[in-house]
Subunit: 202 residues, 2 copies
């Protein structure tokens, strides 16, 4: 919840939705969810988006797995969401912070080969140095080999979905360490199986 | 483009996509675009998102019109995007800043009655007072009658799409005036015709 009070835990959250561009979108979403173990995260869905909260590694593990298992159907599927750390606003989900770091969905996600294209943007809040934080993480994406180019208001990543999510997670976690109790958000649109011509010329 | 240099114009941009959850999604998007006059904005689409830049009123006018004309088909359609001001990164599209303020799509958009639900979040950058800026704009949404409730990391708006977009535009423009050459971004997921049960109990 956006409000005046910030919590002090380092719980990570993502508010997102999966958009399968198909008449059977409900079936695709439900099918993906059935393949994902969400027992290490707090999760709540309404008619607009889904919110997942917990330890950073489990939030990214679950987000990636839902996207990959929806996208492996071959349907044009998009993940669109915002990752946040540093301002939970309340303590809901804090019990999930005591889970261990073993990722429940990583092995199964790594078995799939889904080509993904992403536009992402980092927003380090209340930080005069924020443009440097962004530039540093674009450099990290370049080292990962997933960075394609900057576009207006965002940066483009291309590659296997597992690699693209690895870059997103690394950039987000690195940015969250640039300041004491940093409040950082990161938006990401991640697309698979688009019928449009790829625009990944760097 | 995210980078180290910020421009000085007050050009507004939105990077977004329209997601119709239907097999004929391409047809729905193309149909909506055919009904929208985009001559007062700079516009570029790739396989992941579309970027629209220009004067604030025309960016919101075009974004709203594309969403409304896609949603009026009755298909479950989502607009997902990020509005930005204060860091264009370059001057592309600056010629559009000399357009007058007459909105080209407003009349036609107002003729449609589309019920919308939105989760939005404001990100005033490099501003120690940013939580207050956010709270003030949630208060504005409450005055508009569109504010439903806070959710984790976002605020929920419900109502006619024209009213929901009016609140989004007002909140964004107000937030951009809270600081000299403010860099402000605002994410918005806007959904119509969802088969899910509405979660708009305040
Ligand atoms: Ca159809």
């Amino acid at each position: 919840m956006q409000g005046l009070s910030c919590g002090t835990s380092n719980i990570v959250g993502v508010r997102f939705a999966i958009y399968p561009m198909a008449d059977n979108f409900v079936e695709i979403i439900k099918g993906a969810l059935e393949e994902v173990d969400t027992s290490k995260v707090w999760m709540q869905t309404d008619d607009v988006t889904t919110c997942v909260r917990g330890r950073s590694e489990h939030v990214f593990d679950v987000a990636k797995a839902i996207f990959i298992h929806a996208a492996k159907t071959g349907t044009h599927v998009v993940f669109s969401g915002t990752f946040s750390i540093g301002c939970p606003g309340d303590s809901e989900g804090d019990t999930y912070m005591s889970e261990n770091d073993e990722r429940l969905n990583e092995e199964k996600s790594q078995q799939e080969s889904v080509e993904a294209a992403s536009h992402f943007a980092l927003y380090p809040m209340d930080n005069p140095n924020y443009m440097q934080v962004i530039a540093d993480q674009c450099a990290v994406a370049q080292e990962h080999g997933t960075f394609t180019k900057g576009v207006h208001y965002a940066s483009r990543l291309d590659g296997d979905a597992n690699k693209v999510f690895h870059t997103l997670e690394t950039a987000f976690v690195n940015a969250s360490k640039t300041k004491e109790r940093a409040h950082v958000t990161m938006t990401a649109h991640i697309s698979a199986n688009s019928p449009s011509k790829k625009d990944n010329a760097s």
